[in-house]
């Protein structure tokens, strides 16, 4: 990506960690979470009661938001477009799935170590992290960039999908891992667990948001933006571009892995379709729709698209693809900076008129 993309759109307040948008996003996340919890605690008959199903759904959205954040960190701020981030998400999910399966029946072979939560927790970040490390090391070292990188990430996730589809993998083949009952000794189907997972996911989003924010405002973050815009220049002033890319790519993969791990107990299944390139492309679409290179835009995009999907597939099952597809086209044409761009422009106008 070149700088001509739109330099003016860059958030001018980025020097400070606590910019207005960061504060606002944090507040909205926290208040939203608490609000949902309060409304969920209301008695069933209350018209404002929020059902556990909704809480579970929102929890799932949180994991998608986390994944979008991971993609935005490297795409928005480093300019590397991964069309295979679903792979890291799925790996984290599979690690969690193995752990959950181990709670009901002993796992065969090496998988037995996944019975222990600390091991599983480690695997959740290390499996995607290591894959990203090896893959990224190979790719960045030999300076695979742009579409070449995007396409080989797609090839990676596609290959993993085929591999995980095989029964020999011991990962449940095409059906994947399912039938989870317990997490850390608590029943997964209890309302308490739904709420706990919702909170965990929400907190994870918040922490990841702050982490990404901290990275982005650090000198490393500026180096990465510089890399996005003029990679050769960065190299000629002495930064190891491959290391910068590798570091952020691994961090991003780990965030995606955590997202996957939180996703699995809430959805109840993980299978190779999560590795499908189409899913990874969709994630990129969320980010683009929300607004690339603005962290809150990524969060917003993931939320909006998935919420629309939920509503529209139920309300207009025969026509929702027209609406969603049309929305993608419209947003691209009318809102080049995504929804975040729209918000920023509006704020700019308000400030100008004030």
């Amino acid at each position: 990506m070149t700088a001509s993309d739109n330099p003016q759109a860059i958030d001018r307040s980025r020097q400070a960690f606590l910019s207005r948008s960061t504060l606002l996003t944090s507040v909205v996340l926290i208040v939203g979470m608490l609000g949902v919890l309060v409304l969920n605690a209301l008695p069933d008959g209350n018209p404002l009661h929020v059902s556990s199903a909704t809480v579970a759904l929102l929890g799932k959205y949180f994991t998608y938001m986390l994944l979008a954040l991971a993609v935005d960190l490297i795409w928005g701020y480093l300019g590397i477009l991964s069309l295979g981030h679903g792979a890291f998400f799925a790996l984290g999910g599979y690690a969690m799935g193995l752990y959950l399966n181990a709670q009901t029946s002993p796992l065969p072979g090496w998988q037995a170590v996944m019975t222990y939560f600390p091991v599983a927790a480690l695997a959740i970040v290390l499996a995607p992290g290591l894959l990203a490390l090896v893959f990224g090391w190979l790719a960045f070292r030999s300076r695979v960039t742009g579409v070449y990188f995007s396409i080989i990430t797609q090839a990676l996730t596609f290959a993993l999908m085929l591999v995980f589809n095989r029964n020999e993998m011991g990962m449940g083949g095409s059906t994947g891992l399912t039938r989870f009952y317990e997490l850390l000794g608590f029943s997964l189907s209890s309302e308490g667990m739904t709420v706990a997972l919702f909170i965990a996911s929400g907190v994870a989003v918040l922490l990841a948001f702050w982490l990404c924010r901290a990275i982005v405002v650090s000198r490393l973050g500026r180096v990465s933006m510089a890399t996005r815009d003029a990679e050769a220049r960065v190299r000629f002033i002495g930064y190891r571009v491959d290391h910068v890319k590798l570091a952020l790519f691994v961090v991003s993969a780990m965030i995606a892995g955590i997202a996957g791990a939180l996703y699995v107990p809430q959805v109840g299944i993980i299978n190779p379709s999560t590795f499908a390139p189409l899913f990874s492309i969709e994630v990129v679409v969320w980010v683009a729709l929300g607004g690339r290179a603005t962290l809150y835009g990524a969060l917003l995009g993931a939320l909006v698209v998935n919420y629309l999907k939920t509503v529209l597939t139920g309300a207009v099952p025969d026509a929702w693809l027209f609406l969603l597809g049309g929305l993608f086209v419209l947003v691209t044409m009318a809102l080049p900076q995504g929804i975040a761009g729209l918000l920023a422009r509006r704020r700019g106008r308000q400030e100008a008129s004030a």
Partner: protein, 435 residues
Amino acid sequence: MTTTSLRRLIAGSSIALGLSAFGGAAVAQDEGPIRVGILHSLSGTMAISESTLKDEMLMLIEQQNEAGGLLGRQLEPMVMDPNSDWSLYAEQARDMLTGDDRVDVIFGNWTSASRKAVLPVVEELNGLLFYPVQYEGEESSENIFYTGAAPNQQAIPAVDYLMSQGVERWALLGTDYVYPRTTNKILEAYLKDHGVSDDDIMINYTPFGFSDWQSIVSEVSDFGSQGKKTAVVSTINGDANVPFYNELSNQGISASDIPVVAFSVGEQELSGIDTAPLVGHMAAWNYFMSVDSDANYDFIDNWLDFTGNDDAVTNDPMEAHYIGFNMWLQAVESAGTTDVDAVKDAIIGVTVPNLSGGASTMMPNHHITKPVMIGEIQDDGQFSVVWQSPSAVAGDAWSDYLPESANLISDWRAPLRCGKFNVESMTCEDGPGAE
């Protein structure tokens, strides 16, 4: 439904922010229509198979409403589109089974992956799911009714038939996923039990949507040219079938050389293929559109009227939904309520006519009895039944031919109430009885 509660959530948060608010009135459970969830993909890769089933369910519901509904109440369909995305199946099942507008029963899913995604949800929220497609078995859930064929209702009789036709060499071709893998494992064990040597069995798996069949078909043709009568047992999934059959006919392999018996190719799949070169290849199902019975002819006429298309076809999963729907109706009638637990108890033992002139019964393992048929493809895209089991076969949840499940049974009646009961150790390995 979550959409509404989400709307309410937004309303709620508006209140929290001190702005305006609106609320919705709760609808009482026992009045108003009985809600029937239809969870079939209308988009994505599975739409090709599933969208027909959605239409069929709408037809059945419409007919039932015309006939006076159920328990004096109307049936109301609730259609969602899971977009061939397994996690969306689970999400929408949850959506259907919660809230004031909770559905009383779900008819849906295709492929084991989607069913397994929905399974924990229906178990957790105590829903009812009727699953209409043949599958690999090795499962029995308290909340799922398997109206499609288990391997012993499809695969094994088909192999038996081929053996009686003198087949001695077997090529087991399948798409690389759980159903073919498990079915082929069962068949391999079964064939070896019947004295077929390893050399005479070839197993090959291909990815979903595979289209470069050349090498594999020529391998099969080589395999079949060793002087022994050879047959292909195909568990190839949907999209890969057209290129497969095209390649067979183009490489000059006809049904008289190497017949193919398929478990996933029905009338609907054939409607997208030029069948002239395929005449004589076989499929094993529990129903064919060409089945000779008045119930079938009525069903076909209704279907053609409903779709307004004289060339529309019916197939086995449609019959499965037909049976499942009627079983559920009857169970609700006899229980006098749509309450899930009451229906679950009432439905075991329910017998309804199927479309091939006989009757199907819901067994205690939540599988049903069905006749098994072998049909040969005709040039008009229909099958002609060349063999039919003398009586209906009961579906077996746990295969007798797999060592790990040979000792397992499933029985959801009190007092056993167990989906995975080990008859050797007399313990329940899964289900409420397990504790």
